[in-house]
Structure formats: structure tokens, C-alpha cells
């Protein structure tokens, strides 16, 4: 046993995006410390620029194209990680855009808010590359803890407090369960490295109860993160109570991070034990779709509706995982379909929240009724919202159809009965889902403004920018899905394809 410490080789190019985001955080901290109240507006710009700048090394890494493995396999920068990092950065950027006016006008803590966003985005980026239980755990906490606080950012608002507390408590419970599972996995395999875990838990033909327990617990931890039923209970409350941009962030980026972790864990670490997690995911997926959609049918608040819709969407995204183990092809299909879904989901859901934000600037409400007559005084917003809702419902030519198509494709590619049954469940649910999307659309297009106030809405530039971005992406991808698949095509995860 030597005590000579070998400095680990660090590939700074590979870490550059993370470093840039961290640096931006520090810069923000300094800017905050050395400027007065009246210059706080700069925070959002700095945060936004930082997030965009971080895309540059991502682009260069992608251009380079080599897979970079660090820390003994604990941290991997490959196409998969890059695509998702880009997604996180862009979603973060859009959230910053959405937040700019909201936070500035609401007299909330501005500089610190953007620091929270940056910290959380950093956690997500780490998550995309983490291939080690410890890294995954730490990344999860880094992305979660700032998020807990952001949810409670409107400090004097009881609902916001409540949202933060609930999110925090449920998050901690779930991460405790997950940690226990991780400890068991570590105990069984003696390693925290996913690449080492896989062969060990796959050594036996069938699972042992302990491994099963570990896998189930870990998966449940992330099922919470992606708000799968029955671990979804926090989501509607938190979404409703949290500041709307934060809600958008949680609904999109945070959920995506959960899926990223799940994908990494299942495909790299737990791949050989798909006999355990496939049925688990199957049940979660089906339950998530049905419960999410059914409850969403009864919602009167748009954000809450979007929350439940987001739960249901998570169910769709989980679905391919339920059959991913059938064959390498199915696994590959599942991986791609989920990543594509995440990317498209980010665009359409962020867009939907952007519209809600814009409308709420006038109506000061997110109740469905307040959307009445929107078409008469804000036709642009109405059309945008309709595009997003159609996209969420999976109706061409908005991009959502391609996302859902990918899900169907992945389910069908397995060629198993359970896959087809789940595909039919997805199909049924997309119909149920349209009932509430359509209802909202109906209110916007076909009903009258509740108070007869039809003065137009002034949409600030930042939200306009966010809308242009998301609408554009939603439509262009819907018509030319090749643009998405161009980026997602090269994705592989290590254990896939063996």
C-alpha cells in the first residue's frame, strides 16, 4: 500500500462546459457582491451568456467526436452526454429568458436566483456524464437542492413555501431510498463504478433478492425525479406553487436529468438485470400514464394541468424502457426514443410555460378560465399555445408526434406482447390526454374572455425570444425530424449493443 498520490489526469477540454458554468456561477457571485441593487439586471444576462458560452466547448467536443473517459470510467464525455448537456444548457437558457422579467419585476432575490439555476444546471451536466454511483448521487443532489430552494423562491408566498417544502421533503425521502439501494448495490458488487457493477450483478442467471431490492430502490429514487406514479405526488403541488419559470425548469430540465440518470443506470449499470427493472418500469409507466392523464382531466389550473400532463409524458418516456431489454435493437431504439422525446418535450413544454407566463402577466392567474377569449385579444399567443398543446398531444406537424412516434417505434421494435400492450396503452392515453389539451384549446379559441377585458398583452422581449425559439423548434422538428435525429443518431450507451 503506497501513499503516493497520483494526480488524476484531467481532460480540461472535456470538462470545459462544466467549468464554464461553474465559473459563471462564481462571476455572478462576485458581480452580486460588488454591485448595487440597481445593477442586478445584469445577473440574468451573465447567466444567459454563461450558459450559451458553455455550448461552445460542447460543439467542439461534438466535432471532435471522441469519447473521453476520465476518473477510471466514472466520468464519460460521449455523444450521449453532449447532446444532453446541450439540452440542459439550452433549457437553462430558456428558463433564464423566462425568468428575466418575472424575477426582476417580482422583487425576488435576483443574483442568487441565477446562481441557483447555474448550480442546478451544473448538476445536470455532471449527471449526463456520471458513470459512477457516487457521482450520480452527488450530481443528483446538486441539481436538486438548488431546485428545492428555487421552488420556494417567492419567500413571502405561502404557496411557494409549501411548494419548496414538499419538493424538499419528498426529494429527500426519495434520495434516501435511492441511497439505500445504492448502498446495497455497492455492497453486492464492491464497486461504485457502473461499468463494474454490470458484470457482477449479471453474473447469475437470475437475480437475488438483494440485487432486486437495490435496483428497485435506486430506480424508485429516479422515478421520483421523473415524477412517476406513485412517486409523483409532489409534482402538481410544487409546480403550482413554485414561481412559473422555476416550474418550467423543474418540468423540463429536472425531469430530463432524472431520465438521463435512469438511462445511464439502467443501460450501463443494471443492463444485465433487465429482468428486474423491465416489469418495474412497465408498471410505473402504465400507472403514470393513466393516473397523470386521468387527474389532468379534472384540473382547472393550467399549470397544474401541465404538471399532470408532464407526469403522463413521463409515463410515455418510461414506456420504451419497459421493453428495452428485449434485444440490443430494442435498447437502442428505447435510448434514442427517450432522448428524442426529452429534446422535443423540452421545447414544447418550455414553450407552453412561456405562454402561461405571458398570459399571467395580464391575467395574474393560471386558472383555465382566465384563458377564455385569448384568441380574440392575443391570437399570436393562442396559436403558439395551440402548437405546443398539439405537440404535447402528439399531433403532427408539431414535433410531439415524432417524439411519440419514437416511443411507439421503440415499443414495437421489441416485438413482445408486453411491448405492444404498452403501445396500446400509450395510444389510449394520448387520446385521453387530448381531452384536456383540447379543453384548454377550446377555452382559448371558443370561449369569451371571463371579464370582458380584451386589451392586448404586452409580451416582453425575453419571453418573445423564448417563444420564437420554442415555436420554431417545435414546428421545424415536427416537419423535419431529421434535424433532431441528426444529433441523436450517434448516441450510444456503453452497455448497449452487446
Amino acid at each position: 500500500m503506497t501513499f503516493a498520490w497520483d494526480a488524476p489526469s484531467v481532460d480540461f477540454h472535456a470538462l470545459a462546459p462544466e467549468i464554464i458554468v461553474a465559473a459563471t456561477l462564481v462571476i455572478l457571485l462576485l458581480v452580486d457582491a460588488f454591485t448595487g441593487e440597481d445593477q442586478r439586471w445584469a445577473s440574468s444576462s451573465i447567466a444567459g451568456i454563461g450558459l450559451l458560452v458553455a455550448l461552445i466547448p460542447i460543439a467542439s467536443l461534438a466535432y471532435d467526436g471522441t469519447t473521453r473517459i476520465m476518473f477510471g470510467g466514472g466520468y464519460v464525455v460521449d455523444n450521449y452526454a453532449l447532446v444532453l448537456k446541450a439540452l440542459f444548457l439550452l433549457s437553462g437558457y430558456v428558463v433564464v429568458l423566462l425568468s428575466t422579467n418575472y424575477i426582476a419585476e417580482g422583487d425576488y432575490w435576483e443574483g442568487e436566483y441565477y446562481q441557483m439555476i447555474l448550480a442546478s444546471v451544473l448538476g445536470m451536466m455532471v449527471m449526463a456524464s456520471a458513470r459512477d454511483l457516487v457521482s450520480i448521487f452527488v450530481a443528483l443532489e446538486l441539481l436538486s437542492i438548488p431546485a428545492y430552494m428555487m421552488a420556494a423562491w417567492r419567500k413571502r408566498d405561502l404557496k411557494s413555501d409549501e411548494a419548496g417544502l414538499k419538493y424538499y421533503l419528498m426529494g429527500v425521502f426519495a434520495s434516501a431510498v435511492m441511497l439505500y439501494g445504492m448502498s446495497v448495490i455497492y455492497g453486492y458488487t464492491g464497486s461504485t463504478l457502473l461499468a463494474d457493477i454490470a458484470p457482477k450483478i449479471g453474473a447469475l442467471a437470475t437475480s437475488t433478492p438483494l440485487v432486486t431490492l437495490g435496483i428497485v430502490f435506486v430506480v424508485i429514487g429516479f422515478a421520483f425525479k421523473v415524477s412517476a406514479v406513485p412517486f409523483h405526488t409532489w409534482a402538481p403541488d410544487t409546480y403550482e406553487g413554485a414561481p412559473t419559470p422555476v416550474t418550467a425548469f423543474l418540468a423540463v430540465a429536472s425531469k430530463a436529468a432524472g431520465f438521463v440518470a435512469l438511462l445511464t443506470l439502467l443501460f450501463v449499470g443494471f443492463w444485465p438485470r433487465h429482468d428486474v427493472w423491465e416489469p418495474l418500469i412497465w408498471v410505473l409507466s402504465a400507472a403514470t400514464m393513466f393516473v397523470g392523464n386521468f387527474i389532468a382531466l379534472r384540473q382547472t389550473n393550467v399549470i397544474r394541468m401541465l404538471a399532470y400532463s408532464g407526469i403522463a409524458q413521463a409515463g410515455y418516456m418510461l414506456a420504451p424502457l419497459a421493453v428495452a431489454g428485449a434485444s440490443p435493437e430494442a435498447a437502442s431504439q428505447a435510448l434514442h426514443s427517450i432522448v428524442i422525446y426529452l429534446v422535443i418535450y423540452a421545447a414544447m413544454n418550455l414553450g407552453a410555460f412561456a405562454v402561461v407566463l405571458a398570459v399571467a402577466r395580464k391575467t395574474r392567474s393560471a386558472e383555465s378560465d382566465s384563458f377564455g377569449g385569448l384568441f380574440s385579444y392575443a391570437p399570436g399567443l393562442t396559436v403558439c399555445m395551440s402548437i405546443f398543446l398539439f405537440s404535447l398531444a402528439g399531433i403532427p406537424p408539431a414535433a410531439g408526434w415524432f417524439a411519440k412516434l419514437g416511443i411507439f417505434q421503440a415499443l414495437a421494435s421489441a416485438g413482445t406482447t408486453s411491448g405492444y400492450v404498452l403501445a396500446v396503452i400509450v395510444a389510449l392515453n394520448s387520446v385521453i390526454a387530448f381531452a384536456y389539451y383540447g379543453r384548454l384549446m377550446r377555452i382559448m379559441w371558443m370561449e369569451d374572455a371571463p371579464d370582458g377585458d380584451v386589451s392586448p398583452i404586452r409580451v416582453p422581449w425575453s419571453i418573445t425570444a423564448a417563444l420564437v425559439l420554442t415555436v420554431g423548434v417545435t414546428l421545424v422538428w415536427g416537419v423535419l425530424p431529421g434535424l433532431v435525429t441528426h444529433f441523436t443518431d450517434p448516441i450510444t450507451l456503453l452497455a448497449v449493443g452487446r
Binding site: V134, F137, Y148, A152, E162, L165, L179, G187
Partner: protein, 104 residues
């Protein structure tokens, strides 16, 4: 010693913690119960770490993992208490049951 001694201790502690978070209405007590759960996990990690260390002296992951968990637990408790304080300031109560504005 048997590995299971520690593991069962951990399991018992875990479940007591779960019981605690479910029955305690006072939010500070809920946070305390969370600590029980995290400690249970740490017992597991350390015990497993010791077990693997015994076979492979280079394997220290269990202990390291436990250290990370402790650090994160500290952060979590800090954040949790901050949230509880804020709740208390706004509502003059830290009864978990009072926090139910959002539902449905």
C-alpha cells in the same frame, strides 16, 4: 462479526426513520427522522466498505461514499431547516399538516 449484524441494524434504523417521517407532525422532527434514515444508509456503506476492504485493501469506496453522504446530509439539513424557518415565519407554525394549500 457478521455483516448482517450491521445490515440489520441499518435496516431497523431505516425503518424507524421511515416511521418517524410518517408520524411526526413537527417538521423539525421529520428532519431528525431523515437523519436516522441517512445514518442507516451510512451504516450499510461503512459495513460494506469494511467487508470489501477486507478482501481488497484498495477498495475504500464504501467509506468515501459515506463521507459524501454525510456532507450532503449536512447540506440537506441546512436547506431543510432554512425552509422550515421560512415556513414558520410565514405561518407561525411548523405543523406539517398545516401545509396543505396546494392539493388536488
Amino acid at each position: 462479526m457478521l455483516i448482517n449484524q450491521f445490515l440489520f441494524l441499518g435496516a431497523i434504523l431505516f425503518c424507524i426513520g421511515v416511521y418517524g417521517v410518517l408520524v411526526r407532525r413537527n417538521l423539525v422532527l421529520v428532519l431528525m427522522s431523515i437523519e436516522l434514515i441517512l445514518n442507516a444508509v451510512n451504516i450499510n456503506l461503512v459495513a460494506f466498505g469494511a467487508m470489501w476492504h477486507a478482501t481488497d485493501p484498495a477498495n475504500l469506496s464504501g467509506q468515501v461514499f459515506a463521507l459524501f453522504v454525510i456532507a450532503v446530509a449536512a447540506a440537506e439539513v441546512g436547506v431543510g431547516l432554512a425552509l422550515v424557518l421560512m415556513i414558520f415565519r410565514n405561518r407561525q407554525s411548523i405543523d406539517a399538516d398545516d401545509v396543505d394549500l396546494l392539493k388536488g
